[in-house]
Symmetry: C2
Subunit: 181 residues, 2 copies
């Protein structure tokens, strides 16, 4: 199939808009870019938490929870289940929303759920080097992949201790731009 013209994008503010967009100078098509949604789960089993060691960049070799980008036409809960299946061959029962974090530097909003294993068993998927269950004292705190992983494990602990009922957001004044210490 051939077309009379090819797309030629230029940055401009479309009529009635407030932001500069990539607009095709031939056809007027506006290529909107917006933040992406990451969905993930803090998964409990036998009193421990499930963590995956990343086989891919960024932060290859560091530990995280099963999480990834929400796909078109997917609910956040379905996305969180899919990611756990892909990264940890784990089938989850989602319980509730634990936290909403935002990482404006990366144009990312993370929706993190509490979950348990719906069926026993898990193993490393293609994007994981290994997957394991960790008690609180065994969590590799110094080798967590991202600040939000640190936050969500701490927030999960607070929920388990019964100290809060509502979901968490970014800690006061924090934009999640830094790696955890």
């Amino acid at each position: 199939m051939t077309y009379p013209l090819s797309p030629v994008f230029a940055r401009t503010v479309p009529d009635g808009d407030t932001h500069e967009r990539a607009v095709c100078e031939n056809c007027g098509f506006v290529a909107y870019e917006n933040p992406k949604i990451v969905v993930g789960s803090v998964v409990r089993h036998d009193g421990k938490l499930l963590l995956c060691r990343r086989a891919i960049e960024p932060r290859r070799g560091y530990w995280t929870v099963p999480a990834g980008f929400l796909e078109l036409h997917e609910t956040p809960e379905d996305g969180a289940r899919r990611e756990a299946l892909e990264e940890a061959n784990a089938r989850l029962a989602i319980e509730s929303l634990l936290a909403v974090y935002s990482v404006p530097r990366l144009s990312q909003v993370q929706l993190i759920y509490r979950a348990v294993l719906h069926e026993p068993g898990f193993s490393a998927g293609e994007e994981s080097l290994e997957v394991g269950l960790f008690g609180w004292d065994d969590i590799p705190w110094d080798d967590l992949a991202f600040p939000t992983v640190h936050w969500m494990l701490g927030h999960e602990r607070q929920v388990q201790e019964g100290s809060i009922a509502a979901p968490f957001a970014n800690p006061e004044g924090r934009s999640a731009d830094l790696r955890p210490r």
Copy 2:
């Protein structure tokens, strides 16, 4: 500026991926498409709620809360404040997350906050025909723009009645595909 080639996109599953994407056959660029985030606010003032009558499609002429697409590098709270300023010339103080709704048909996740007017005063912005404050008995229930507007007003009422502490999600089994009756 000229380029030796133009982008030619074909639908294919990239290596290591699980979903079909638009991939440029000349340069390998993957044009990921993901769901978008809508941020909005249920705004209280003098015991009433602020609603905007839409000046744009879809659902022109129907009532909604100030809400719109989150922009790159914006936090959800900043986006909710920006939308209220654009659509209702209202300056908000955001209080807390009220609800997370998903509309998979539209590949949309909505983050809805509770807010109050930080400064008195509001008026119709470019995308609104009019803006008003409504007591519960005066809300135009039959002329609300979207199902989620119906939900969030009901959820706001439940919060005001003190019956819940956590944020709401879609009502059981509902995908927000239908307009409110």
